[in-house]
Assembly symmetry: C2
Homo-oligomer: 149 residues x 2
């Protein structure tokens, strides 16, 4: 599949997700939690696939001009840790099957994005225990919810 | 489905079609004939769905910057003729199920596009007999092939 095809399909899926699920949920006052959103697209497609960032910015603006993630949590682990974990998991998907260079570019793009917006994009050290991470997330979500009340 | 979703899916499909089929065919020197290409997208999505033409122009430029149709034949019939023919055909698809206003906008957009580029986009009066139309197409294709030799 061409890289541009993949990017267009991702934004087509996001467009439906926004229209069918996210916008109605926000309208009824719900909080929305997504497993990956457009920050991930800048990392995987922009960094990993090296798709032109101006194309991604335009697609983002077309597909969800009025919606952005208030907070993104990036669960970060070094490549060797990710590899070791994946080897015990399910059959790899089309991204998980990529080589080390792809993951290196994706990770670097994501970390660079997080460094530019340190308040909005929070880096979670994924090598810590699940319990430790849960406590950190609970604290951060509590702070976020309190701040917006 | 949101109009933008449909547009992104169409260009995702076109991207694969261009990469997998059209470009390899052109590279080996073949002539390529498509049943609808991007002129149709300007008519159906631009005219019918009223998607912003600047979005269509950007997607066209991203997906096939170096490929354009040398000749487009628009088989045109009035709406009532199209309706009568469709009623005898298969189950209507998502475009064929649209109402008269959609087809009116699509047809007007396509005819306006043909008037702006009368040499490249040829209007075929679809009310004529199949034999008449075949003769006209054979003549035009012969002229086109001869001109490019």
């Amino acid at each position: 599949m061409a890289q541009l095809t993949e990017t267009l399909l991702l934004f087509a899926a996001r467009s439906e997700h926004v229209c069918q699920v996210i916008e109605p949920a926000l309208k009824r006052g719900a909080w929305v939690i997504c497993d990956r959103f457009t920050d991930a697209t800048y990392a995987y497609q922009g960094g990993g696939r090296q798709v032109d960032a101006t194309q991604l910015a335009l697609l983002e603006q077309w597909v969800h001009p009025h919606i952005h993630a208030d907070r993104t949590w990036l669960f970060d682990v070094p490549l060797d840790v990710a590899r070791a974990r994946l080897s015990h998991a399910r059959t790899p998907d089309r991204f998980e099957s990529e080589g080390a260079a792809f993951f290196q570019r994706t990770r670097e793009a994501y970390l660079a994005r997080a460094r530019r917006e340190p308040e909005r994009i929070r880096i979670i050290d994924g090598r810590r225990s699940i319990d430790d991470i849960r406590v950190q997330l609970q604290d951060e979500i509590h702070t976020l919810v309190t701040a917006t009340r």
